[in-house]
Amino acid sequence: MKDFTQRLIEDKVGLIGFIGIFIVVLLAIFAPLIAPYEPDEMFTNHVMEGPSSQFLFGTDEFGRDIFSRIVYGAQVSLQVGLIAVSIGAIGGLIFGLISGYFQGKLDQVIMRIMDVFFAFPDILLALTIVAVLGPSLTNTMIAIGIVFMPVFTRLVRSAVMTVKENEYITNAQAIGVRPSMIIIKHIIPNIMAPFIVQITLALSGAILTEAALSFLGLGVQPPDPSWGMMLNDARAYMEFGPWTILFPAAAIVFTIFCFNLLGDSLRDLLDPKLKQ
């Protein structure tokens, strides 16, 4: 672990990603302290004003402070990212472990169901689920979580099947260790590397999908500030106030970019083939 942290620090790309994510996390946690105004506070005398010392990123068509909305938007993005990925990852871990460890008929059934979900393009599946559940913050998280579950299931299953072939597992089975103990003590720790990489990459995917759904009006609902929604709202007025587009777009790109940087670097660090 120490060796790993050391290498992460040495790998500048990953470090930049990590610092970027850290900044977004700080923004989200300390939003009430950092944002100068409430996200839905309207300054009717300052509608569509450009960036100034009073409004750092300018104001939108209702006279709301864009900087404050972006800071609070970080809360929404991270919340959706974390909860949605947790749903997908935990679901995928359970199904993948069952499938990969026990194999047989149960494996067949689980994997065929996952195949069905793989037949939908991601955003389309998320859209359909949100259409059924109705657009809201909670439903966005559930939809994205379900969309991500098959990827985690496949990943965990194939990792489990590789680990299972090791002699120490056969030995543990031979001396009669219960399957649940083998899974918890020996299998899970050994599949963590690809799992963590996938979590980092899924986080960026989840934040992106939330922004896309909110952009289409089917994700987070007003008055909650979402970067995707801000971008869509601003489209009608963008020629009169480019800042209404540019800052939310920059926030989305920055966050996803940092997660991808970290994910990329983690993948290289944890892949034994690329170690030399």
């Binding site: 065929r112 169901i113 195949d115 069905v116 979900f117 037949a119 939908f120 393009p121 991601d122 955003i123 389309l124 859209l127 359909t128 689920i129 259409a131 059924v132 960026s204 992106l208 922004a211 896309a212 952009f215 289409l216 089917l218 995707g228 971008l231 869509n232 601003a234 489209r235 963008m238 020629e239 480019p242 587009i245 540019l246 777009a249 989305i252 790109v253 996803i256 970019f257 991808n260 940087l261 990329d264």
Partner: protein, 314 residues
């Protein structure tokens, strides 16, 4: 080979059956009365009853499913609950636009991604390599709707240009058609290019390290020959895999991009029908997209053996 194709096609049947079950029954979970949702709260009891009867909503759910599936199997996807029009012809008409957009985007992405990926792979750790890696990571990180919005903004502010509205078929007026599709295709293409570029770079790196490349070089082959005839050809398998995976992203991406550029494609149909809760159209369109998606993945798999004769399917 033929036996393999047939077996793969047969394997698609349970998947598509599963898709139809998932989509049909998920839409039936929606709380409340479908007829009420469509006609609004002030609809008369008679009108509600008539709509339920017309669309078989008064039948048991299983019966509804089988009658829908029975229709689908003979090419009858039912009628739109909103417009009363046949669903399948509408889907096919709109799919032409989405298909053209997807093809154009894919071509743009390959033109950008493969040469840049190869260069980055050859000149590993150089400035060029670093730049290409940053560009490709940005390509993956910039959501297509953000890129589209900013692109429209920049074009409007600097050239006072706004993308043309409406759609003209390629065979009616090819130039106008390309004018309409080029911006959305660039947006979708660059997003896809990021992923393809990364894969091209890493597979070229991997291949150039192998013994057979050293042998070819030792025999005095020109570097150009080594790269194009040997390295790139062998690198095509992983590149093709990522392209296959990106097709799904592309099909999904068209939903948003068609909305932004007001293109009357399949993605826009899905979105409109979701907003209008037009269930027959949603289920038909989603089933159709899933069908196209799995067929493309099958095609990609079959292309492997063409590119790499070592891969044979039994």
């Amino acid at each position: 080979m033929y036996a393999y194709i047939i077996r793969r096609l047969l394997m698609l049947i349970p998947v598509l059956f599963g898709v139809s079950v998932v989509i049909f029954f998920t839409l039936r979970i929606i709380p409340g009365d479908v007829a009420q949702t469509i006609l609004g709260t002030d609809a008369t009891e008679d009108a509600l009853a008539q709509l339920r009867k017309d669309f078989g909503l008064d039948q048991p759910v299983m019966k509804q499913y089988f009658s829908w599936m029975g229709g689908v199997l003979v090419g009858d996807f039912g009628e739109s609950m909103r417009t009363g029009r046949d669903v399948l012809p509408d889907i096919l008409n709109r799919f032409k636009i989405t298909f053209e957009l997807a093809i154009l985007s894919a071509i743009i992405s390959w033109i950008i991604a493969i040469p840049l990926g190869v260069i980055a792979g050859i000149k590993r750790n150089s400035k060029t390599d670093f730049t290409v890696r940053i560009i490709s990571l940005l390509g993956v990180s910039i959501p297509n709707f953000a890129l589209a919005t900013v692109l429209i903004l920049v074009l409007a502010l600097t050239f006072s240009y706004s993308p043309p509205v409406g759609y003209v078929g390629f065979f009616e007026d090819p130039i106008k058609n390309l004018q309409i599709l080029i911006l959305p295709a660039i947006v979708l293409g660059t997003a896809m290019a990021g992923a393809v570029m990364r894969m091209t770079r890493s597979s070229i790196l991997e291949i150039l390290r192998q013994d057979f490349v050293r042998t070819i070089r030792a025999k005095g082959a020109k570097e150009r020959l080594v790269i194009f005839n040997h390295a790139l050809r062998n690198a095509m398998i992983p590149i093709l895999t990522i392209i296959g995976m990106q097709i799904g992203v592309l099909l999904g991406g068209t939903v948003i991009i068609e909305q932004i550029f007001s293109l009357p494609g399949l993605g826009q149909l899905v979105l409109t029908s979701i907003n209008q809760r037009d269930f027959t159209v949603i289920q038909g369109a989603v089933l159709f997209i899933a069908f196209v998606f799995v067929m493309i993945n099958l095609l990609v798999d079959l292309l492997y053996s063409y590119l790499d004769p070592r891969i044979t399917y039994k």
